[in-house]
Subunit: 405 residues, 2 copies
């Protein structure tokens, strides 16, 4: 941390009014950090894990609850691939992606814990990413460095410093958020007391890399990709997203469809859609170009449209390739060695029984190498996304094994 | 059949010399049909299932063995999505895609059976497809009709007529070939005595449609797709393939990568590639555009390159959408009704235990609705492609349940 680090309060789109910021010292008690309001910490220059450099990196974050005097009740909550820091509603009018799971009296109880959710570097939710303005005033675009989850963790450590959190009571997340949580434990083992990786892996597998490669290729194939420099203007207001509605939106849409299939299950698709035609459309026509859609096609089109309305394609590339790079054993003597060295941390490994992106077997292996207790299961036919739709199933396990104080 | 139908012998690329053709009458004994040599039947005009029309449709095919005097030993063998009629070597120097499984003394014994393998209409292996010359001399391209598996079956029935085969001893195939086999049984139940659908489904599911949609979109996103009319010249020589190396080869490559993942398994990828970097490449670099590949990426690149060297993108679109349309119950009162009406046919339903494209549960349900005997399993960690790599595991079941005479 440099003495110039400050928090800047920013507004989320529309509903959230700006809040005053403050210096790290002023914020130590964190009383005036309104729940669920986006703020930004300027962390200064940064050299990335794989060699790139930026003169200035901002990390956006939200908080809920109050840091106690001993700074012993801080929980770091890490978002998934296209997630953001807005985990729960708090003072904001906008619903969060884990509303009901995080809040007063919820399984992650913001009456008792000070919950911090940062946006990942390289993304498009307030933290510096490829759509942010470079020193020359243009968006970074193709100049944004290759990012790894270790970069995310190191920059989040600067945020912890600024907030006055030496040691996290718990670091937790699902999917890529779980991978980030595990990377936190491996990078700063002395700063993590408890760790909850949900529906994730200790190292991205060949198949996970394969699914990711296809997604990045679809984006880069789009004629509007322009080598990554497609922005009409950079995101200058923190929390704003550059590149929406421009650039490779069709390619990003294909990437999202691909990813979405891996997030759900055959069983769910069959039950919801079967082979039904979309209302008013006919999948049979004289020419392929004239045919209507099956319901599942319309559904995937809808999923793609939703994402391209809120996410920048370059940010999707950066974070997807960060996830491809994920391997907590890299440069540390391998998975068994590093996971076996974390016995002082209380782990709760959780999985979704129907997950076919992060197979339950990977969680079982992770728990075995960690010497952790039994894997806790979310039971649902929905697949990987069960970590979002059915997180409440982990309430009991969190109470018994993590939030015991 | 019209009186003008004739067989025309054609050469496969390079190694197969042209063979003389003949009229249907001359070919009834089929003595002079050399094994494994591509021939073409002109079947005349055709109106497609979904309404399109062509003035002339050719069906390419190969045969092995000899039709007996009673015409009671004919086996129809149907290829998968990017398969072709060259199932086995025969007189040709080129290896077939089921060599060893089809041949003299093989599980499908060409010393005893007359095996016929047609190329599917809409494809690019000799049968009329989007790369074929339309009456105006240009390739059909975007003008090629939407095709269903029922079109394939009806045109293959014309081939059966020309060959003098009223009733097939057995109709069999894997993956889309199995779907075609089942469609044969449902369309012409009186012409099928035995049927062997392997690693397939009675109706493409929502998830199978979803995977297919992504593939077709990747092809159409490619700036070189040009609405489907990208050919410099049509395929005029039967057996020739238009569009190779031109048109949306990048998009087709992405489609193939996507499909290939569904053909294999996480277990196989993990064992073969893990997280290894490709030799001489480094997946970590300062900028994303500078990074090297993981081995799995190189492997998928290789699979994509192989396919674009032998397959036309429009043909891939037509056949993929045909498979999306697959539903033997459509217009026939539903799956249970049509499958329940085929009790006179001896079925052998087979599946690959690790298949995650055509889940074993689908084969179990199919067998139940057919009232068939137990599903026969290929046991392999490889996934769907086990129907190619481990077909020999079905030899015993074929001997006991199908080739008993």
């Amino acid at each position: 941390m440099t003495p110039t680090d400050t928090f800047t309060a920013v507004s989320r789109p529309a509903s959230n009014a700006p809040r005053p910021g403050g210096t790290p010292a002023e914020l130590a008690g964190a009383e005036h950090l309104a729940d669920g309001m986006l703020r930004v910490l300027s962390t200064g220059p940064y050299t990335f894990d794989a060699g790139g450099q930026l003169d200035a990196v901002d990390i956006a974050f939200e908080t809920w609850g109050t840091l106690n005097a001993q700074a012993s009740n801080a929980v770091l909550l890490l978002h998934a691939l296209t997630g953001d820091p807005h985990v729960a509603r708090g003072s904001s009018e906008e619903a969060g992606w884990w509303d009901g799971f995080v809040g007063p009296g919820a399984p992650i109880d913001t009456d008792r814990y000070f919950v911090v959710a940062p946006g990942m570097v390289g993304g498009c939710n307030g933290s510096t990413g490829p759509g942010s303005a470079a020193p020359d005033g243009r968006a970074y675009g193709s100049r944004f460095p290759l990012t790894t989850l270790r970069d995310a963790v190191r920059l989040e450590a600067r945020l912890a410093d600024a907030l006055g959190v030496d040691v996290w009571h718990t670091v937790l997340g699902g999917s890529m958020g779980g991978a980030r949580a595990l990377e936190w434990a491996a990078t700063f083992p002395e700063r993590v007391q408890r760790c909850v990786p949900i529906a994730t892996t200790a190292a991205s597998t060949a198949e996970q890399i394969a699914f990711a490669q296809i997604q990045t290729q679809a984006i880069r194939l789009d004629p509007r990709f322009d080598g990554g420099d497609y922005y009409s203007a950079p995101a200058t207001a923190p929390g704003g997203v550059a590149g929406l509605g421009e650039g490779p939106v069709a390619g990003l849409g294909i990437a999202r469809r691909m990813a979405h299939i891996t997030y759900r299950s055959d069983v769910e698709f069959h039950a919801r859609f079967g082979r039904q035609a979309q209302a008013g459309e006919d999948p049979y026509a004289a020419l392929p170009g004239e045919r209507g859609r099956y319901q599942i096609e319309s559904y995937l089109d809808h999923q793609a449209g939703k994402l391209v309305g809120r996410f920048d394609a370059n940010a999707y590339l950066i974070i997807t390739e960060a996830l491809m790079s994920h391997d907590v054993g890299r440069g540390r003597g391998g998975l068994a060695r590093v996971l076996g060295s974390l016995g002082h941390i209380q782990f709760l490994v959780a999985a979704v029984d129907s997950d076919r992106l992060y197979w339950p077997a990977q969680s079982e292996e992770m728990a075995r190498l960690l010497g952790a207790g039994p894997v806790e299961y979310i039971t649902t036919p929905i697949g990987h996304d069960g970590f979002l739709t059915d997180a409440q199933q982990l309430a009991g396990a969190l109470r018994r094994r993590i939030f015991t104080d």
